[in-house]
Point group: C2
Chain length 333, copies 2
């Protein structure tokens, strides 16, 4: 039996292409003492992986050329030599872009398939959901009545951020890249306002119109010109939550933009970055609350699912073209 794996073939310069990945087949490994064999069911593709394709180390080690691409996964235990796991167990793991993987169990989290669809462990109840929850609540510190602006608002993180901000009593304005996304935000997710930045030339004028009381919290998934437009509109003591800068990930050197730090001085405002894994110990708290909000209909999510491990590169690349609504997933088996 063979294990199909997607490896990193080249370090891309600029926007990656499918030729930067290579699909290979290796024999499915056998679990040793204490190990389990996982059959991967779902694979998560996320923008942060672009950073791991570089040769330079940032907060995580680069993926080596020829190595299997990294990524969060949900799998089923198909063989176990670890007393803590039985065949049939559904687990979250970080097994990367492949159909089968070994684990010693230390990195596995059992999922209850009766509690929520297992794919949510990679989305609304997984890393992106945790990112939204801790980024907004811990770094953004929203207060009822605040105006919260979210960029990348229809993505896995942004769509959760906006809804949690509404639960927190805020007015929520989303920035997204298609009319369909804007409709989704306004009609399904009940954002207070949203606009398609691809159809607007003056982002600042548009944000100013949609945020008549200024901006108290900005949750930034994109960086670039949308973020530039936010700075002049922030209120005193605004919080700018720097989560992602997807507009910059495929650039080989920093893009130039207007210097805007003085807005932080006069508004006594704060721009702060965070990485969700610093909050790992508190994921159970967040998962419990978010699952409750989902049951109550206050928190909705959508998944864009692509089938087949061979399509993982395509799914990953679509993130940078902004093609996904909600969480982009690959259904592996």
């Amino acid at each position: 039996m063979m294990n199909r794996q997607v490896t990193l073939a080249n370090r891309p310069a600029g926007m990656p292409s499918e030729s930067d990945f290579k699909l290979i087949e290796t024999p499915v490994p056998s679990p040793g003492e204490g190990q389990v064999l996982l059959k991967i069911l779902y694979l998560s593709v996320d923008p942060y992986l672009r950073g791991l394709m570089r040769s330079t180390h940032s907060y995580a080690s680069p993926i080596g050329i020829g190595q299997v691409m990294a990524g969060g996964t949900v799998g089923e235990v198909v063989e176990s030599r670890n007393p803590k796991f039985q065949p049939g167990d559904i687990v979250e793991s970080y097994s990367g872009w492949q159909e089968y993987a070994l684990s010693d169990g230390s990195d596995l989290r059992k999922i209850d398939p009766s509690a929520a669809p297992i794919s949510t462990a990679l989305g609304i109840l997984g890393m992106p959901g945790m990112t939204a929850y801790f980024g907004l609540l811990e770094i953004g510190q929203p207060k009822p009545g605040d105006t919260v602006v979210v960029s990348g608002a229809a993505g896995a993180v942004g769509s959760a951020v906006g809804q949690i901000a509404r639960i927190a009593g805020c007015r929520v304005v989303g920035v997204a890249g298609s009319d369909e996304k804007v409709r989704y935000l306004l009609e399904e997710l009940q954002f207070d306002a949203a606009f398609n930045y691809k159809k607007v030339t003056d982002y600042q004028a548009k944000l100013s119109e949609l945020c008549p009381s200024g901006i108290d919290v900005y949750f930034d998934n994109t960086g670039g010109p949308i973020t530039d437009a936010v700075f002049p509109l922030i209120n005193n003591r605004a919080r700018l939550v720097l989560c992602g800068q997807i507009s910059q990930y495929n650039l080989e050197k920093p893009e130039m933009g207007p210097r805007l730090l003085f807005h932080l001085v006069v508004k006594r405002a704060r721009a702060e970055g965070f990485l969700v894994f610093d909050y790992t110990a508190r994921y159970p708290e967040a998962r419990e609350r978010m699952a409750k909000w989902i049951r109550e209909g206050k928190l909705k999510y959508r998944e864009t699912v692509v089938e087949g491990i061979e399509n993982a590169p395509k799914a990953f690349l679509s993130l940078f073209r902004g093609e996904n609504i909600g969480k982009e997933l690959v259904k592996v088996a």
Copy 2:
């Protein structure tokens, strides 16, 4: 008796010149019931005044054309119709660029001339000193062993920041604009390292050499390319204290610079602006500690004093050419 006053003649575009100010003479006013007449002894010129010369409102109202220029002052009560003040009292006030001023007393703070030179009420024990104290300690949150980088390090604020950081057990690196300033920082103020940015082309390489353990706190008085060079060198959870952006104050529209926010994401770091007057209630605490450090020889200061109200514009303009070491003052009488 006439009162010489310096008024705002024009709103400058770009770097102001002496022709943007006008020296006028008006009769010295007489105090009404409850008022005192102040004879101004020292006048403070500070970079933030450039912002008040614009027509647009930031955190304080613009100075009107034909109005007396604003600014902190130390004066002597020469006539009093207010029972709280006696002729001969030395007071801090915000009387602006003139030789005499009226006050109802509500904005006056009595100074004890035996405790410290009265000019220090505008410098090390005044607004710039308070800015250094609260900006560094509250926003920068230095920990012993931290590497603290200060831009504008030989100025009124920067020179105090560096010394307070040393008192807090930090390693201090200053960036300044002349060899004389660098000598002052290294020899008199005992900074651990300093460099003259006008003699260095690659600021990042220089900072990297002087900060082998990275940068934990950056106290920014200048903005611009020096600040750009700091971002790639920050450590996890670094604090960037945004105090001033003097390199930008004479620009008519934002200068372009590299987009650097992603460094804040991967380092979980924070850039935060502040305005010192938010800490007014706590000035007594800061003044007491700083006066003690001065007595103990741990905190030194220097003043660059220009004589005569007519030279206030010249003194002000010299700030933007970086000509001052320590606090720039005008001795009015």
